[in-house]
Subunit: 338 residues, 2 copies
């Protein structure tokens, strides 16, 4: 081989390897660009989501929906973050009872506070919804809005979930974060519509899910505007304002958002009315439920569960065209990396 | 002059005139770009707005506010659209009583309906808040959310204001439209926070003000989720849910938006608490009131008015640093062109 020939060959090889590298980058980019839901396994759920978003965003298409009308609502507990074995907000309320106990000597003899302070969770449980409401009222009211926000933020920043040893704000579902991003990238406005307290979620919703406080709908206590020593503030009163659960969810959506979602995502029978309301609208709609089937990566529970019961919705799903997202089958991973 | 010289000269002239034209366009654009509030006269109000927006958007500046926190709230009646001599929604309610009368034979003997149907407005007025509430309940509930929305849209599309002979949705304030656009262009999220019914404003808020339904906060009736013949719908009940007025405005802001505004704009004593709440926050804030002083272009009213009373707020403004926007002095024009 002549030196010139050699040089030409080596130049050619160099070019080839360059092309290969560029080609590889392109393939990778295309693969990535074409998979905005990379933590979702291929299957009927992922397919339904991709087809739905494609249909409602295709200009001139039969199912096209104007960006302003692309409202997507997500339940929070069990849909965006872990809710098992107990709703995070209830644990927050329990911790607050312990923290506030020195200022409430009467709790030493008053149930269900007495039982809670003694660690007798069976008696707390037996006090039912009435007992739980007393605990919630005692821990969620009687302070300013700003004070409560600080309590919530501090607790969430310092408390770890016992099994996974991570803050609750990290025990969020990676596939759902991708879905929220994907929807927003396609012109959707994403909302939380939760039975949980609106003021409990708002301090972390923007940082955790990219959902600003004004796009969080939830249960609330009555608030009062008061001017104390010339300083105006909002005071949280010991009275329920609204329970944003079950049939309350469509009502919360009506009062807060003012137009029906075209996509709604829940995980329990408490989300059924929200999904029914969403699917009842004209045009193409999508209703989904997370089914907790992954005891190893998260938890497995449904019909008989004390939290996030998924029973009637599971029975009705096929006939109604609701998508059941099987956590174990449909998700590659559950939580984001540490 | 030689023919060549002539051609050169004319070419030169052509070029010059081209430059002049381009230059003129540039000047015009710069003038326009530098005056986003072209319907506002130079004066203390316009100056305060421009300085405020400049201060909170200047990165690294002392008063910088993150875009997410740039919440601006506007009252509607008398702040964004005409409210004199009577709130538009009350006129809508009156018209609905007349429309519904055939289905309500009992109104022929029941006050204040009887008086209203007979055109005896003095008796209607004498029935006070109680009578007005009866009229509002009878005309704003007992139908689905979708039906009510259609009623409102149809009425607003077909009804003209008696003096100006234009639909109410055209009797909006041009300077405020410019301000809303200017704020949004500077990263603000704009909200309506009105004593009026949330469901009365939402059908027109996006088209009229560029404010989507989910950014409208207002008074509401209780709604119920019902499934009728297999069809889910929201039914408006004859019961007040929330009155978003006076001390209710900061509460409505808390429940709906979840963070305080940094700019609030009202026009009456009913907006005073919203402005107080806004100004009480840390960092730079701006509170403004429209003062209706232009009897020729719109109306002139304040302390003794039966609608949009501006009395205490007018007295307190100077000491509190609230900006009083004098409609006649501060605005070049009131309504948009036909």
């Amino acid at each position: 081989m002549k030196p010139t020939q050699l040089r030409t060959q080596s130049k050619f090889r160099f070019l080839i390897s360059g092309f290969v590298a560029i080609f590889a980058v392109c393939i990778f980019s295309v693969a990535n660009a074409s998979d905005p839901l990379s933590s979702w396994n291929d299957g009927p759920a992922k397919k339904a989501i991709l087809e739905f978003v494609s249909a409602v965003t295709e200009k001139g298409g039969r199912d096209y929906v104007e960006p302003a009308e692309r409202i997507a609502t997500f339940d929070n507990d069990g849909t965006l973050w872990v809710e098992y074995p107990m709703y995070t907000q209830v644990l927050f309320a329990f911790d607050r009872v312990k923290k506030l106990a020195p200022q409430h000597p009467e709790w030493k003899i008053k149930q269900p506070f007495k039982a809670l302070l003694e660690g007798d969770m069976k008696t707390v449980g037996a006090s039912g919804m009435k007992g739980l409401m007393e605990i919630v009222m005692a821990t969620h009211s009687g302070m300013s809005a700003a004070e409560f926000e600080k309590e919530v933020s501090d607790w969430l920043a310092t408390t770890k979930q016992p099994r996974f040893k991570r803050p609750y704000t990290e025990l969020i579902y990676q596939p759902q974060l991708e879905l929220l991003d994907y929807l927003r990238a396609n012109g959707f406005k994403t909302f939380i519509v939760s039975g949980g307290g609106i003021a409990f979620m708002r301090p972390i919703s923007e940082k955790t899910y990219g959902i600003p406080p004004e796009q969080v709908v939830g249960s609330s206590v009555v608030a009062e505007f008061q001017v104390k020593d010339g300083k105006p503030e909002l005071v949280r009163m010991p009275k329920i304002d609204f329970i944003n659960d079950k049939a309350g969810k469509p009502v919360g959506i009506y009062q807060h958002i003012g137009r029906p979602p075209i996509l709604a995502f829940g995980n329990s029978d408490s989300d059924m009315q929200m999904i029914e309301y969403t699917m009842a609208g004209e045009g193409r709609r999508l209703g989904l439920f997370v089914h907790h089937t992954d005891a190893e990566s998260e938890y497995a529970y449904d019909r008989k569960s004390h939290v996030g019961t998924l029973d009637k919705a599971l029975d009705r799903a096929a006939a109604e065209g609701w998508i059941i997202v099987d956590m174990k089958k449909d998700w590659k991973k559950v939580f984001p990396e540490n």
